[in-house]
Amino acid sequence: MEKVITMEKNEVPFEEYLAPGHRACTGCGEMLAVRLIAKTLGDDVIIANATGCVEIVSSPLPTTSWRVPWIHTLFENTSAVASGIEAGMKAMTRKGRYSRKTKVVAMGGDGATADIGIQSLSGALERMHEFIYICFDNEAYMNTGVQRSSATPFGASTTTSPAGKQSIGQMTWKKNLPAIVAAHDIPYVATACPSYPLDMINKVEKAMKVKGPAYIHVLSVCPTGWHSQSNATINLGRLAALTGIFPLYEIEQGRYKLNVDPAQLSPIEEYTKLQGRFRHLPPEVLASIQERVTDEYVKLKKKAAEV
């Protein structure tokens, strides 16, 4: 495979498996993540993709942006479809009718993963199907116009958790999905962000080598839903990691490892002030969010220190 050499002599595959011409918003962090992940997965892959932004913008009939086999599934059964593909390939391999080691990948947004599809995901993880589940978390139902999901962070204003006189926006804390997935004792769980592209590519490569299920949770900056500038996408992803709001870590065979571990966490205001969805928050609420973020980060560091 032809390679482009970039960034500290790391190699990034050259081939694009996501064609340009997709209809994502300008500055979409999600399609950037999908593009880099598709590059890493290569051409021997079958993707099952839940309804959501990625599905809508990459496959408006009669066209597709995909250059690999790809199937659109419903919100609730992405992991079930991926399980079926994997089981089917296994059976055909046993009967000698299939010889390739095709990777099965399921993709979904935070709504498809944390809310609607969590039962089929849990089932597929429990059955230990050999597949990669990638959750593109843009922290709300962005495809239908920014409705809250269980992955929406505390205090964010969405159309169904609007900020106003009686409400400060989302009233619940973001669901810790990687922890729920890790509780299934699967071999590989990771969080990633396209602002750290090489880290994300490494994680996808690791997930491809794992025997059994692997799960990658990708923070996808959404300029439309977060009310941020389209050119701030990369910076926001970076700040999410540096403030500890979305720490980048991996769990290999139950062992935690922090991949981006700043000596001192940046204050969360650096992250929130760039986004319209947090603009209404008064200082005391920001302080309580800061407290929780720091607490969670300390807990995570403790887990990473255990060997």
Binding site: V4, I5, T6, M7, V12, E16, L18, A19, P20, G21, H22, R23, A24, C25, T26, G27, C28, G29, M31, L32, R35, L36, I56, V57, S58, S59, P60, L61, P62, T63, T64, S65, W66, R67, V68, P194, P197, P223, T224, Q229, S230, N231, A232, T233, I234, N235
Partner: protein, 295 residues
């Protein structure tokens, strides 16, 4: 029964507020006791993509039609760039009205887009930047539309704008009034100005030609879709400072930045796809790339 319906077609970009323009004008018309509709055209297009919104206003009869507007009486263009990528006067009726947001003068616009329709030009972008601080021209353009067509009274717009914008209503009403004052209008001319550019229309298969089960067998066929039309600014590079690190290539959400042909190792964005997000300019460590407004 005499056809008394007046139809408006709005050309805007996703996120620019064309739909809001249509809604506000319909609300104002209803407040004046007329019948009115406002609705957008639906598609998978996102922020920055060319979008359409429509109005029907009738001062005598209820409106039964629910289809999109093909032969408008009035066309309003919210983004100057759209003039050159879509045929905005398509279907415009004889003696209709074309209202354009453009920094160019009325004479210049007339030489390019004059025809058997009334023509109005206003620099709504400049007004919106001055009074609102943002390039969202929906309320500003309403002033020009009202002046050119007299379809509703300016006073009728105040209440819908206050209801929609709350604390920001005052500034929006000021912008609307300023556009009303500044819009320049030219009467129809008999001969249509010669089109300088052919509009490319993508050819997609009809529904009868699709395979059962919505199977698409041509890989990557979306690559014929020109997302480059969405941008309001484009990147320009000064290669003398470039260190060929490839960060722009990595961080491009479109995947449209590719190694430049013929020249060793430099990267260049493909304008056919570039949506002008500005990530490459923001992330370039050597400030090689700057974003330049589309003219």
């Amino acid at each position: 029964m005499k056809d008394t319906t007046i139809e408006i077609r709005w050309h805007g970009r996703g996120g620019q507020g064309a739909v809001t323009s249509a809604e506000l004008i319909a609300m104002a018309a209803i407040a004046e006791g007329e019948y009115a509709q406002a609705f957008p055209s639906f598609g998978p297009e996102r922020r920055g993509a060319p979008v359409l919104a429509f109005n029907r206003i009738d001062n005598a009869n209820p409106i039964r039609a629910r289809s999109s507007v093909i032969n408008p009486d009035i066309v309003a263009v919210l983004d100057p760039g759209l003039l050159y990528i879509t045929d905005v006067v398509s279907g415009l009726k004889q003696n209709g009205t074309l209202i354009v947001n453009s920094p160019k003068s009325l004479v210049d616009i007339k030489s390019e887009f004059g025809g058997p329709w009334k023509l109005a030009v206003v620099n709504a972008t400049a007004i919106a930047r001055e009074l609102l601080g943002v390039n969202i021209v929906n309320t500003t353009m309403l002033g020009a539309v009202v002046k050119a067509t007299g379809i509703i009274k300016m006073e009728s717009l105040v209440e819908p704008i206050e209801e929609r914008f709350g604390a920001r209503a005052k500034r929006n009403i000021d912008a609307c009034a300023k556009a009303y004052k500044e819009a320049e209008i030219a009467e129809p001319v008999a001969v249509r100005a010669r089109q300088k550019r052919e509009f490319q229309v993508e050819k997609w298969p009809a529904w009868q030609e699709l395979l059962p089960g919505c199977v698409v067998i041509e890989a990557g066929s979306a690559s014929q879709y020109r997302t480059g039309d969405w941008k309001s600014q484009h990147p320009e590079s000064d290669y003398s400072k470039c260190i060929k690190c490839g960060l722009c290539y990595i961080y491009c959400p479109e995947g449209c930045i590719v190694p430049k042909l013929g020249e060793e190792g430099f990267f260049e964005a493909d304008m056919y796809y570039c949506k002008g997000c500005g990530i490459c300019a923001q992330e370039c460590p050597k400030d090689v790339i700057t974003m330049v407004e589309e003219s």
